[in-house]
C-alpha cells in the first residue's frame, strides 16, 4: 500500500501544453456549436468535442515514445493503454456520428428543417403557466384555451407511440405530422 504508483505516474506524466490547449479549443468550439438549434451544427459540435477528448488521451499517455511493441525497452515506448482506449472511443464516436448524420437527414426529410424542435408538451405546459392556468387534467375548461394547431400537435405526440396499434384513425401516420411540423417551424421566428 505504498505510493509507488502515483509517484511513478508523476515522474512520467508531463502534460504537453500544446495538446492541452488543442483539447480546450476543440471542446470549447464544439460546445458552442452544440448549443445551436440546427442539428447539423450540433452534430459538428459533437464531432469536435469527441476529437477534443481523443486528443486528451494523447495528453494522458504522457511522454511520446517509440511504437509499443513487445520486446522494446519499456522506458523508450509510449504508453500503449491510452492508445487502445482512444482507438475504441474513436470507433464508437465514428459510428455514433454516422447514426446522428442519418438521424438529421431523416429529421430534414420529415420536417423540412434540421432544427431541433421544441417539445410540444413542454410548450403547452409553459403556455399554461404563463397564462396562470391549472393543468388540463385538473380543470377541463382548459381545453378551450388550446388552439386547434396545438391540439393537432398533441395528436402527433400522443399518437406517435400508438402509430402501430391504431393505424388509421387517431393519428395521421408518416406524412401528415411532418406537415404540421413544417408549418410550425416555418412560422417560428428564430
Amino acid at each position: 500500500m505504498t505510493t509507488v504508483a502515483p509517484t511513478l505516474i508523476e515522474s512520467t506524466l508531463q502534460p504537453n501544453l500544446t495538446l492541452v490547449l488543442v483539447t480546450v479549443f476543440l471542446v470549447a468550439t464544439g460546445t458552442a456549436l452544440a448549443l445551436d438549434r440546427s442539428l447539423v451544427r450540433v452534430l459538428l459540435g459533437m464531432v469536435l468535442i469527441g476529437n477534443g477528448v481523443a486528443v486528451l488521451y494523447l495528453v494522458i499517455s504522457g511522454r511520446a515514445g517509440r511504437a509499443p511493441f513487445v520486446g522494446e525497452d519499456p522506458a523508450a515506448i509510449s504508453d500503449p493503454l491510452p492508445q487502445a482506449m482512444v482507438l475504441t472511443a474513436i470507433v464508437i464516436s465514428l459510428a455514433t456520428i454516422g447514426f446522428l448524420l442519418a438521424l438529421s437527414y431523416r429529421l430534414w426529410q420529415v420536417s423540412g428543417t434540421d432544427d431541433v424542435p421544441d417539445d410540444a408538451e413542454d410548450a403547452r405546459i409553459q403556455r399554461l403557466a404563463l397564462e396562470d392556468q391549472t393543468s388540463s387534467t385538473y380543470d377541463p375548461s382548459e381545453a378551450s384555451t388550446t388552439t386547434s394547431d396545438e391540439l393537432a400537435e398533441e395528436g402527433v405526440v400522443s399518437g406517435a407511440g400508438s402509430s402501430g396499434t391504431e393505424p388509421s384513425a387517431t393519428e395521421p401516420s408518416g406524412t401528415e405530422p411532418s406537415g404540421t411540423m413544417t408549418a410550425r417551424a416555418g412560422g417560428d421566428p428564430r
Binding site: M1, V4, A5, P6, I9, V42, M46, I49, V53, L56, Y57, V59, I60, L81, P82, M85, T88, A89, I92, S93, A95, T96, F99, L100, L103, S104, R106, L107, V110, S111, V116, P117, D119, E121, D122, I125, S135, S136, T137, P140, A143, S148, E154, V156, S158, G159, A160, G161, S162, S163, G164, T165, E166, P167, S168, A169, T170, S173, P177, M181
Partner: protein, 539 residues
C-alpha cells in the same frame, strides 16, 4: 481461489446475447427462427444469472481475466452479489419484455401493419442491448464499463428511433445528443482517472485512489458521478428522459424504463462504494435525491399523458435509490439495491400495461381515455396492483423497499436525512395521487366523461355530445364494441411482469438479507479487491 468446480460462467451473460444477435441477423428472413433464438438466449441468460447469484452468495465474487494478459493489464469481468442480482433481475425483465414484443409483433402483422416493429432489426438490436446491460453490470474496469454503456446506448438509439416516424426522430435526436455528451464526459473522467492513477481497473483504483490528494480524488469523483447521473436521470440532468421515452414502441419504452437508468444507478453504487468510500458526498447526493424525487413527481402530477406520467415517476423514483446511496451506510446501500430490484420490475410492468392501454384505447392521453375497467377488467386489475405497488401500499414490495430506505434514513438521523425521509413519504403520496388520477380517469370513469373525447366529436361535427364510440373514430376509445382484443401473449407477459413485482414481496425476507450481504460486501470492499487482484500486484 480461482479453482472452481463449477465452470466460470461470468462471460456468458455478455457472450450469449451477442452470439444470439449474430444468429438472429443471419436468420432475418425467418421470423420464427429469430423468435426462438432470442427466447432461448435470454432464457439461458436468466439461468446463468440465477446460478451466478447462488455462486456469488455461496462462494464470493467470481472473476475472469480475459485475453491471458498478465494480471492487472487485461480486461476483467467480475460478478459479485450486487452484479449477480442486477443480472438476474434485468434478465427476467428482458425476457418478459421480449415475449411481450413478440406478441405485439405477431398481433401487428396479423393486422398487416408491420411498421411498428420491424422484426428483422428488432431482435438483433434487442439482444445487443441485453449484452450491453450485462457487460456494464459485469465490467471490472472503468473502460469496459464505458464500452458496456456504449453497446447498450447504441442499441437504444436504434430502438428509440425504430420506424423513423417524425415524433420518434424528434425524441431520438434529444436522446442521442444527450447520451453523446454524457459519454464524452465519461471519457474525460476515465482519462483523468488514468492520468492520476495509471490504471482503470476498479479493484486497483480502489487501492490507489486512497493515495491521491483529496482535491484530485474529488474532481475524479464529480466527473464520473456527473456522467452517470445523466444516464441515471438524476434531477438537474433528468430533463431528457420524459421527452425521449414516451414516443418509442411500448416494449422498447418498457425495457428502457426498467433497465437503462438503473445501469447508471448501478454505476453510481459501484463507484461510490468501491472507489470513493471516504468521500460519500452525502450532502450533495441527498439534495440531488430530494430534488429528483420531488420535482420528478410534481412533473408527473402536472402531465396528462399516461406515458409521460410514468416517465416522470421513473425520474422521481430514481431519487429513492440515490437517497439510499447518499446515506452511505450498509443499510442505506442495501435499501437502494432492494429498491433497484423492485423498481426495475414494477416500472417495466407499468409501461407494458401502458402499451396494452394504448392498444385498447387507441391513445394514452388521459383526456381521451375512459371506461377501460369495463373494457378489460384483467388489464384494470393489473394496472391497479402495479400502481399500488409503485406508490408503496403496505403488503407490496414498493412498501417494503421504501420502508427499508426510510429506516436507513432515520438511522442516520441528520437533519438532511430527516428531510429526505419526509420528502420520500411526500413523493410516495404524490405517486399515489398521480396514479390514482390515472385510475379514475382512464379506467373508472365512463368514456363520455373524458373531456377531449366529446370535444373532438364536437370539433369534427361527428354528432351529438353523447358519445357513440363506434361512430367516432377520432377518439378511438372503444368500450362496448371492443374491436381489438388484447393478444394473449402480450397480456400474459404483462401479467407475469406484474406477478414478478408481487413475488418480490414473497421473497422479501431472503432478498433483503441478500441485499444486506451485498451491501456489507460493498462496504468492506475487501472481497472484491482480493478476488480480482492476485496477491503480488495488489498495490
Amino acid at each position: 481461489m480461482t479453482d472452481f468446480p463449477v465452470p466460470n460462467l461470468v462471460p456468458l451473460p455478455v457472450l450469449l446475447p451477442l452470439l444470439g444477435a449474430a444468429l438472429t441477423l443471419a436468420f432475418r428472413r425467418s421470423p420464427r427462427l429469430q423468435r426462438s433464438v432470442s427466447i432461448v438466449v435470454l432464457a439461458a441468460v436468466v439461468t446463468v444469472a440465477a446460478v451466478l447469484v447462488w455462486q456469488t452468495d455461496a462462494r464470493g465474487p467470481q472473476v475472469l481475466w480475459l485475453g491471458a494478459w498478465q494480471e492487472p493489464l487485461g480486461i476483467s469481468l467480475v460478478a459479485d452479489r450486487l452484479s449477480a442480482l442486477m443480472l438476474l433481475v434485468s434478465g427476467i425483465v428482458t425476457l418478459l419484455v421480449l415475449v411481450f414484443a413478440i406478441g405485439q409483433g405477431q398481433a401487428d402483422s396479423d393486422e398487416e401493419n408491420e411498421s411498428e416493429t420491424p422484426l428483422t432489426i428488432f431482435h438483433p438490436t434487442y439482444l445487443v442491448l441485453s449484452a450491453g446491460v450485462s457487460n456494464a453490470f459485469l465490467a471490472g474496469d472503468l473502460f469496459n464499463l464505458f464500452v458496456g454503456f456504449e453497446i447498450l446506448l447504441f442499441s437504444s438509439y436504434v430502438l428509440i428511433t425504430v420506424g423513423g416516424a417524425a415524433s420518434r426522430i424528434h425524441a431520438g435526436t434529444t436522446y442521442v445528443v444527450v447520451s453523446l455528451l454524457s459519454s464524452a464526459l465519461f471519457l474525460v473522467g476515465i482519462a483523468a482517472v488514468y492520468a492520476a492513477t495509471g490504471t482503470v481497473n476498479l479493484a486497483q483504483l480502489a487501492i490507489r485512489i486512497g493515495d491521491l490528494a483529496p482535491g484530485v480524488a474529488l474532481v475524479l469523483q464529480l466527473c464520473l458521478l456527473t456522467a452517470f447521473a445523466i444516464k441515471a436521470a438524476i434531477f438537474p440532468m433528468s430533463a431528457w428522459l420524459p421527452d425521449s421515452y414516451p414516443t418509442a414502441p411500448a416494449p422498447v419504452t418498457a425495457v428502457f424504463a426498467g433497465l437503462l437508468t438503473k445501469v447508471g444507478v448501478y454505476a453510481i453504487i459501484r463507484v461510490q462504494t468501491l472507489l470513493f468510500p471516504d468521500s460519500p458526498l452525502q450532502g450533495l447526493l441527498m439534495w440531488a435525491a430530494l430534488l429528483t424525487m420531488v420535482i420528478g413527481i410534481l412533473g408527473a402530477v402536472s402531465q396528462s399523458g399516461l406515458k409521460r406520467i410514468l416517465s416522470f415517476t421513473l425520474v422521481s423514483h430514481i431519487g429513492y435509490m440515490i437517497f439510499g446511496i447518499a446515506l452511505a451506510t450498509p443499510h442505506g446501500t442495501a435499501g437502494a439495491i432492494f429498491y433497484v430490484a423492485h423498481h426495475i420490475t414494477i416500472q417495466t410492468a407499468l409501461f407494458l400495461i401502458t402499451g396494452l392501454v394504448e392498444r385498447l384505447g387507441g391513445t394514452t392521453s388521459l383526456d381521451r381515455l375512459g371506461g377501460l375497467a369495463v373494457a378489460s377488467p384483467v388489464l384494470a386489475t393489473l394496472f391497479f396492483v402495479s400502481a399500488m405497488n409503485l406508490s408503496g401500499i403496505p403488503p407490496m414490495s414498493g412498501f417494503l423497499a421504501k420502508i427499508g430506505l426510510l429506516h436507513a434514513g432515520i438511522e442516520v438521523g441528520t437533519p438532511l436525512a430527516w428531510l429526505l425521509v419526509v420528502g420520500g413519504i411526500v413523493t410516495s403520496l404524490l405517486t399515489l395521487y398521480a396514479l390514482a388520477k390515472v385510475w379514475s380517469q382512464a379506467f373508472w370513469r365512463t368514456l363520455a366523461d373524458a373531456p377531449h373525447s366529446t370535444e373532438t366529436v364536437a370539433a369534427l361535427g361527428a354528432g351529438t355530445l353523447d358519445v357513440d364510440p363506434a361512430a367516432d373514430p377520432a377518439t378511438a376509445v372503444v368500450v362496448d364494441t371492443a374491436p381489438r382484443t388484447l393478444p394473449r401473449t402480450m397480456l400474459g407477459a404483462t401479467a407475469a411482469m406484474t406477478a414478478v413485482g408481487l413475488a418480490i414481496t414473497l421473497v422479501a425476507g431472503p432478498l433483503f438479507a441478500y441485499t444486506q450481504r451485498a451491501a456489507s460486501d460493498l462496504a468492506a470492499r475487501d472481497p472484491y479487491i482480493t478476488t480480482v487482484l492476485p496477491q503480488d500486484v495488489r498495490r
